[in-house]
């Protein structure tokens, strides 16, 4: 049975003296009734699909509405040319570029890995792929980080939601960011409690984020929201590694996210009836797209 609280996972980690990812892997083995090798193989192919998607970005593509495309290339260009000038620095700029590129690939009908949704598919690869390419080329560790991310996502899905229609964008980009933060902490050598605290902080920071897609399409603001999910994950992972904890326990943060989602007006839950979708510019775009 999938875990319904991060605390349960932490307890199992401690009782059995196992890392977070191992506990999630074992849960998958029993939940789907597969062998350890089956589970690892499937995670490997998911990771490969992510790497392939990151490597096959096409800067000349435009989305159906014409609103999205090409920004990931601009950011990549800036990453390489503006080393002195950039505020975030080359490494983070690369993560930002990765988030934009994956978000754009999704909007342009390229193959991506939903993580946990298609709209939020840029966050996890944006933190994992640069880590793999520039810090530690270790596939096994990447798979471990993917299990950590998935385990966090499962708990959020069980206690709250990972769908913008149900809980607003906090449930999509917020969840993706929490998953990515936990994954990063594992890569950086943090323990199971630190993983949970990074996820909690990342989710807290995006609490209340509404889902307000222009013209109802997964384009604006979705692509750039992948960037905030990414940068937020990086900073929460660093905070945790600096010894900072979430003052609100992780499961309680998830429950708060659910409460906020439940109280969120329906116009902010993927209906394109509020927020950026109903700005004059958003409405103009919608008229152009929908005719």
């Amino acid at each position: 049975m999938a875990y319904e609280s991060l605390q349960e996972i932490i307890t199992v980690c401690k009782e059995q003296d196992k890392p977070f990812w191992e506990v999630i892997l074992e849960e998958d083995i029993s939940e789907r009734d597969v062998t350890r090798q089956d589970s690892l193989d499937k995670m490997r192919s998911t990771w490969d699909a992510m790497l392939l998607a990151a490597a096959t970005y096409e800067s000349n593509l435009k989305s159906k509405s014409g609103l999205v495309g090409g920004d990931g290339a601009k950011m990549e260009q800036y990453q390489h040319s503006a080393r002195e000038q950039s505020l975030c620095g080359e490494y983070v700029d690369g993560c930002i570029a990765g988030a934009l590129q994956m978000g754009e690939s999704n909007a342009c009908m390229k193959r991506i890995v939903a993580a946990p949704t298609a709209g939020a598919c840029g966050v996890l690869p944006a933190v994992l792929v640069p880590y793999f390419q520039k810090r530690e080329r270790n596939t096994q560790k990447m798979l471990e980080a993917m299990y950590v991310a998935a385990g966090i996502g499962q708990v959020i899905a069980a206690r709250a939601s990972i769908s913008g229609a149900a809980g607003g964008c906090q449930a999509e980009i917020g969840s993706a960011s929490a998953m990515a933060a936990g994954a990063l902490v594992h890569l950086q050598g943090g323990d199971c409690e630190q993983i949970a605290h990074a996820a909690a902080m990342a989710l807290k920071n995006l609490l209340g984020l509404v889902c307000d897609p222009v013209a109802g399409l997964v384009e604006v603001p979705c692509v750039k929201r992948n960037v905030i999910g990414t940068v937020n994950a990086l900073s929460c992972a660093d905070m945790v590694m600096a010894g900072i904890t979430s003052r609100i326990p992780p499961d309680q943060v998830i429950d708060a996210m659910k409460e906020v989602g439940d109280k969120m007006d329906v116009s902010f839950r993927e209906t394109a009836l509020g927020g950026l979708a109903v700005t004059p510019a958003g409405m103009d775009a919608a008229r152009r797209v929908l005719g």
């Binding site: 319904e4 939940e31 699909a49 009908m109 193959r111 991506i112 499962q154 899905a157 109802g216």
Partner: protein, 222 residues
């Protein structure tokens, strides 16, 4: 909602939307499998959010891609219209508001190369998953995630037992079974989901039974 690990990290799919794109591919795929013939003509009605944001999400291309046999992660999905032309599949789209339908609903009227016909109404219910709501005018409910056997038979007693015994004889475990009636036509549609794949010869045997009009079978893709 309790979700398995690869519902969270996955599906691997062509964007932009799991409900409007990946789910639409599945609807097309399941429809062509149920037709059991190569589709040469399809008239598609889009309802609700499929009608309003469908084109922006590539729902139209996704449905056609599925009809051509593609899976949700097939990178040829954006080119499905051209591929349909090459494969001799004629298609049309209409937007229409249907009564009491899920917001992401499509109705597909299919004709196959050998003259087979099928009308199917299905909805994309999120995360790339789908639900079939009508088959040839009969209200049904199934997801096509497990191996699924669909038996059209005359609405008379006895058929259910015949079908179930023939499956259990072959050690196929029935997970769910539902019977749906078409009030006007006097026939019934039996939908069985099974834990194992159903051997082909069992399906052929069922087709021979008197009073059984048609048997369709979809196995799972993985």
């Amino acid at each position: 909602m309790i979700m398995n690990l690869f519902d969270i990290l996955g599906p691997v799919m062509v964007g932009p939307s799991s409900s409007h794109t990946a789910g639409a591919v599945r609807i097309g795929y399941v429809a062509s499998r149920l037709l059991e013939d190569e589709p040469v003509k399809v008239d598609i009605v889009l309802h609700g959010s499929f009608a309003t944001t469908g084109v922006g999400h590539g729902t139209d291309k996704a449905l056609i891609a599925g009809l051509l046999g593609m899976a949700p992660d097939d990178i040829r999905i954006p080119q499905s219209f051209e591929l349909a032309k090459k494969n001799g599949l004629a298609f049309s789209f209409t937007n229409k508001t249907l009564k009491d339908a899920h917001p992401n609903t499509a109705v597909l009227k299919l004709t196959g190369k050998h003259g087979k016909q099928l009308e199917i109404q299905a909805a994309s219910i999120g995360g790339g998953r789908i639900m079939i709501h009508k088959l040839d005018g009969v209200a049904v409910v199934f997801s096509a995630e497990k191996p699924t056997l669909i038996v059209y038979n005359q609405d008379q007693p006895g058929y259910v037992a015949q079908v179930t015994t023939s499956l259990s004889k072959r050690n196929v475990n029935i997970a769910t079974m539902n019977l749906y009636r078409d009030k006007r036509g006097g026939f019934a549609v039996m939908v069985l989901e099974t834990d194992q794949q159903i051997p082909l010869e069992a399906i052929h045997m069922l087709e021979q039974l008197e009073g059984i009009m048609k048997v369709s079978y979809i196995d799972t893709e993985e």
